[in-house]
Subunit: 188 residues, 2 copies
DNA sequence: CCTACCGATCGGTAGG
DNA sequence: CCTACCGATCGGTAGG
């Protein structure tokens, strides 16, 4: 149902999440999979290749979610709510990968390192421009747009470190609470 | 003016910040200090000891700042503002150490690992109780107190990753913007 | 603070 | 997917 390569990547993602990329050895990964370390290389090229796939797939997901949220017609307030919902969805549906992306991207080598930094900046710019659009439309009243965009994104990203699928709050309730808090915080 | 041990810790903090704890070798650290790796052990017991000092010193600073902020008389709103100011101050005055604390604590071994997790939870509880106090006094109107506390802390902690001492915003302006955003977000 | 060195472990390859 | 193995590097110690 799931091929060996995906199994390796999934197991690696969980290990990278708890132990960190640099501190996870290929022998640990192999043991978790019930195989020898050398055998892993029949399926992947390198340890870093796994990290690359995790980071760039997540980045893709975040951008796709944002694009869809923003391309619908309507007031900026609704677009921002949709963007928050999309971001929360990517995280709750990819908990381990989202954590690894957030905390381990620095271990990428060039040119991937520069690329992922660039993508993170672009994503932040997307939110900043959304806030500015709301400012322009008269919906928002924001003193420091860059700081506000960073505060919002940091809050949303923090979700990866406390969300529990079996916890009290459903993703829908989480989205409502984030939206409530930040929309009140920036409403005109 | 500054002894060798502090010099080692400071240099290590900067290396841990950019390369990560696990990926920083004692030989790299030694080279940055202009000495041999073995010589470092005349001043410190182990690589992890450096990380321990970084994490627990920062935790101390955060708790001390919070305590001072909250022990003053006055409305909860002012206490929260003071707590935000204290947290921002600790980060801006210990940029590298704050980043390392936030991202590398998981590499601590027991019993330090459990202790630092405990401290992080306690600190979060402190903020949660402050929010609840404002709720009780009628100053705040918060739907999800735990989520709100986490959002606030994640926003403040994110500062460690974008604050530039030579940047546009002064710490005072940053505190004002965070306070503005969140107090509006939770005001009754 | 240095030289010399330890055992352990690392990511990865050769060859089957 | 395994056995066998590579060179490199790791954190740390002994002894001065």
């Amino acid at each position: 149902m799931i091929n060996r390569k995906e199994q390796i990547e999934q197991t690696a993602t969980n290990l990278f999440r708890t132990r960190g990329f640099a501190a996870t050895s290929m022998r640990e990964l192999a043991q978790s999979l019930g195989m020898e370390a050398a055998s892993i290389y029949a399926h992947i090229r390198s340890k870093e290749e796994i990290l690359q796939k995790i980071c760039f797939r997540l980045a893709d997901d975040f951008f796709a979610g944002f694009r869809e949220a923003v391309n619908q017609p309507g007031p900026v307030t609704e677009k921002l709510q949709a963007a928050i919902a999309a971001h929360v969805q990517v995280i709750t549906e990819n908990l381990a990968a989202a954590t690894v992306f957030q905390t381990e991207w620095r271990h990428l080598s060039e040119p991937y390192l520069s690329q992922i930094i660039q993508l993170q900046e672009e994503y932040e710019v997307n939110f900043r421009e959304l806030l500015q659009a709301g400012q322009a439309s008269g919906e928002f009243d924001i003193a420091e747009t860059p700081l506000t965009a960073r505060a919002l994104l940091a809050s949303l990203n923090g979700l990866a470190q406390w969300y529990k699928p079996q916890g009290q709050l459903t993703p829908t309730e989480i989205v409502a609470s984030f939206s409530h808090l930040f929309l009140r915080g920036i409403a005109a």
